[in-house]
Subunit: 382 residues, 4 copies
């Protein structure tokens, strides 16, 4: 789709499920939004030339490479998009930053907060635009919730309950994977990160955390006929203290049998409340204490053109956005940020923050004591 | 996205909301599915050169034209995609068929069943592949419902309730539009068509209909300071007799205040039941009478990779498809049909059938008598 | 519980499930409400002395009788409560009226409208107070709905959907019973009567009906090893025209597999809508079109002390009334009417009306033509 | 209602809302269940003779007294039922036990666990039957949940989430009451007690607790024109460790704006899950991992005769029990226990246990450390 717009050339590293999802997102963002750039799918890199060439064909990239370093080095590429396994995120991102590229990295930025900090630091020092993939936050109903909270529609915010529960690790016979690696794995890291991100997105900074972390399935098949011990949490919980004075809790579980996407929140204020479930993410339930007596109740607001940018996808309410649409919104906002039209929606600094929160929760659980976020290594901009 | 696949060159007529939705759909279908063709957005036509040129830029077509006839005549174009106002559907489609093009036409195929019949007839005579846009039917949960019904999971099907209710015409001060035109307008035509299509998709052919049609808002602003009388139905209802022996009902309303997308159905069989609402279209509720005593209940099945082609959009259940994803599925199936890999999912013959059903309902309401579908002008293939 | 209040002595005929339910209701009404009378469970009658004596012991009546006529003749008895099989309703009620008793009769008043008319006529001529058991109408949320409709909170009422679906006749091997008797049986008579009663309770008089009646299970075990042909409807439907100008529909089914209590309604007006399901009968869902843009949605109002007489049962909202509580409300209102403190909440005239509506629906279905309610034998007060 | 059964003579102390609810419960229990005794409402006591005499008339007691001690001393009375303010529970109960009466006491048994222990101890030493009012546990759907858990239908139980949230203290201008008294007040004591009781009812003993307790509204009107400082918790939370190895959490809040009865739980096992909300307490949602692929989902089981003792209230499923029906079940079970037909369903020992759990949660919150239940003063039977 040639246009008069300046080109933004994307180099994608990694061609698995998230790589494909990113490509869907770039394509949809370009169709749905009036972006400041023409997006060009320039090069895709994978472990070897053959895989990369296949991916280029399937995903629609002009070039391919079996070496991610050559992609990073290519002066034609503007944005390096990292969907490779977590263990590579840091090295790839730092190389891309050093090469002056904007960097879009799937979550987690890095399992260890100090690594995430280093990455955020490097990006800010270099002045490149960064993004970590927290697509749930791109839901128009999240924006509505935050607008309502900030606008005082709920009055003073008093308490919060957040969840992210799924069941993809519920099977005792599910194999040991990188997600079970003690350095950065676990339900808190994988799903709690989302629950914590949503909590801060809605209520602002968390100051203190009391964590709880439980390993339920303590060994898993090691792929060689034996079993390997698992130390990471299958269920994590936290009590929260927000800087605003509100308190709350979150829970993360990847063994919540039957749950496919229970990324839920409840916000209680002095004048109203909000209830949301990602299982029905085109709805937001709102209780307005100012409604007439005998007529009060949680009302089910259905997403529609009143809730930007829904209207760019569909002119009629109730038709519903899908998961991939949220990814398109995430990408569109990032591209706006690259063009200087708005703040980075969820940059590396935010990604580092989330790793701090996860780490604080895990450490708190280990110590059985409250952990203040200021106990964390301070983020030191250059 | 150049590939080795043969090219399928699209000529789009009309650049309004549905035109944009189709372009989203073509793009997404190409990304998500392994289509037999490379889709090329070749030419877009609109009322004049300027509008068309703008649309080409925005939507990503290589060429533009202010004259739809030249688009139809262009030998490079394989598929003519008609999203122009309903009144033009017949003329455009017949011209495209005559030119040997495959034709994709937004619903309704034509307001009058005899026109729709003529179009279906022409397409079959010429041997081109056609499609009418009934995207709700492309929901994986509809496929699941039909599979369950056909596979006997509900036992003998006994009764059916269908709905399609929205509220976009609920405002008495909403202006008179082409949808209020007595020749083919009304809630039954606009929304009842969906309800009837879903009924036949799930339970097979309807044999007889008793209709009910009610005008609630009998005049609307004419745009010139006065009001214009409205004769079409704001609410339509029908009792149904299916060839299978099942009976049922549907209702269509565009003044159902508060409803944004109540395209719902309930199917009751001798062994189970299904309940669905388009307001939560990633769910299907299933009652299995064979469940253990004291443990029976409607279970909420969430869409996931078990329900093809969901897995092509997302590898994890519960993440949810959106409205535009349904459009992508619709288009992908059409393109498969063009390649001869499957039947036309919803060709002109089906579009004609829907117009017959709508017309039968409306005539029945007028006569206050059952109308058999075989009273309709029989479809006469060449 | 001796009090200074005048005594109201009850004579109960029939000791099956409904008899027991009535006794629960009398007891609860007396406890919960400040009734104008002290209720005395005076005599219970059943088919023979022994059964009656047992029932007196179990249910707490002072006396018993094997002959309902002696109960009716007993000058000490003030109210005759008839829960005997439907076939006896007329004879018993007329005898009781003749004896000057107030009469409380389970629904249906009588299968044939002319019988129901005769009973209503007799009661009015004699000046006794009557009641037919339509307990769903006693739900505080029904009162709320009617208050909202009458108070204009929904604007002009435009359309209505009503249902009453259960599955207790879904089993093909369920035996032939009196409910399958062509004279007055069927789903419309048993359940449609409730749906029609609710429709008129909320929207006022129905003027015309187009009915649909379907026999799905056309024979049932006759209890003697054979099968007996069934002619009554398993599913009934109707289009409705209300005197107010609103239109609507109802459906009744006793073969709706999985449904236990789908007595539902949806009311659509020019300013709002109401949605209710008896499956969650302590809730009423209200859409208010006047809510702020982007904040509109159906709100779930939970029953509470704002909705009289809920507060007499429980001081806190959300605790929920049960089915038997509705029966207590029904009885309390009847006793108020006997004391002259209010109108008969659902007297024999109303019971007759319901039989007219059921009969009109059935006749309309047979004729396949609209039936006006004024075609009915007019009710002729003495 | 005279019978041949032995009489069980009730002496009620306190005539407020809970007193009335108990009387409803005694009356309904007697009607609905075939109890081993004839219940006689013997004497009611209140602060003075006049109030007591009024209550006797209204509630149906034969005698009244302005002195609870004389009621306790009355040799004719079998059961002393205490619904007086919490502060009197201990003194009244100990006196009644000393007099050899069975004692039914509203919750909390006593604010301080050592007092509750003393009461439990005294009752066991004397051999009288006791009961504390935990009516939520009497819901047939709770029994179903426990049956399913104990029967292994969910496999190994892994995690638990419990809630009890309401909003009756959400108003900053709500007055200071005895519930705000630092000795035993707060949301954890009032509502958390229910959440903890449900957790142990379903999953068995809790071994360790990490608590969180937050005061949100730190002063309330003192009734004299000023404000009084509030120290008790408005929101309480806890992480839980069960003896079974399962872990979980509960939350209690009385400032959860919009919530009227969010007494909810979710239980996750290796083979299935249960989800329940008291807002719809006639439903239990069950996920069965053994259901067929593509057909799995939480199923909504509606209460019915399969779930004893529902069938004693109503022969048909889906008709729903109400709050007062739960109270009747609670009382019926207690009376069975008095007759030696079953264990005390929720005796003083259980009431003491709950106070221990609440106390452990509060102490843990204060210390910010896990509290083991065995740190509690051990219960020392005589």
């Amino acid at each position: 789709m040639p246009t008069d717009k300046p080109k933004l050339r994307i180099g994608l590293i990694g061609t698995g499920f998230m790589g494909k999802t990113h490509v869907f997102g770039f394509a949809a963002a370009q169709r749905v939004f009036d972006l400041p750039y023409e997006i060009v799918l320039h090069t895709v890199a994978d472990r070897n030339e053959e895989l990369a060439a296949d991916a280029a064909r399937t995903l629609g990239f002009a070039k391919s490479s079996g070496d991610w370093r050559s992609l990073v080095a290519d002066p034609e590429i503007d944005v390096v998009d990292i969907t490779a396994p977590n263990a590579f995120h840091k090295e790839m991102a730092l190389a891309a930053i050093k090469a002056g590229k904007h960097v879009y990295c799937e979550k987690p930025l890095a399992p260890l907060p100090e690594d995430a900090q280093e990455m955020a630091h490097a990006a800010e020092a270099k002045g490149v635009k960064t993004q970590v993939g927290f697509n749930y936050l791109c839901n128009p109903m999240f924006a509505l919730a935050r607008t309502m909270i900030e606008g005082g529609e709920l009055g003073e915010i008093r308490s919060y309950r957040g969840l992210h529960a799924e069941d993809y690790m519920a099977d005792t016979e599910g194999p040991f994977t990188f997600r079970h690696d003690p350095a950065g794995g676990g339900a808190l890291a994988d799903l709690g990160s989302h629950a914590l991100a949503t909590a801060e997105y809605l209520l602002g900074p968390i100051e203190r955390i009391m964590g709880d972390a439980v390993t339920v399935i303590d060994s898993r098949p090691d792929g060689k006929g034996g079993r390997r011990s698992v130390e990471v949490d299958d269920v994590g919980r936290a009590f929260l203290r927000f800087a605003s004075g509100a308190t709350g809790s979150i829970e993360a579980s990847w063994i919540a049998m039957g749950r496919k996407m229970q990324h839920d929140f409840e916000v209680y204020g002095s004048k109203g409340a909000l209830v949301f479930s990602q299982e029905r993410f085109n709805e937001l339930h709102f209780y307005n204490a100012a409604d007439a007596a005998g007529r009060r109740g949680f009302r089910c607001i259905e997403a529609g053109p009143d809730h930007a940018p829904y209207g760019l996808f569909c002119v009629a309410p109730g038709h519903q956005l899908g998961f991939n649409d949220l990814k398109a919104i995430e990408i569109a906002r990032y591209i706006e940020a690259i063009a200087g039209r708005g703040p980075e929606p969820f940059g590396f600094r935010a990604g580092f923050r989330i790793q701090q929160l996860v780490d604080a929760t895990t450490r708190s659980a280990r110590r059985a004591a409250w952990v203040a976020l200021d106990e964390q290594p301070a983020f030191a901009p250059a």
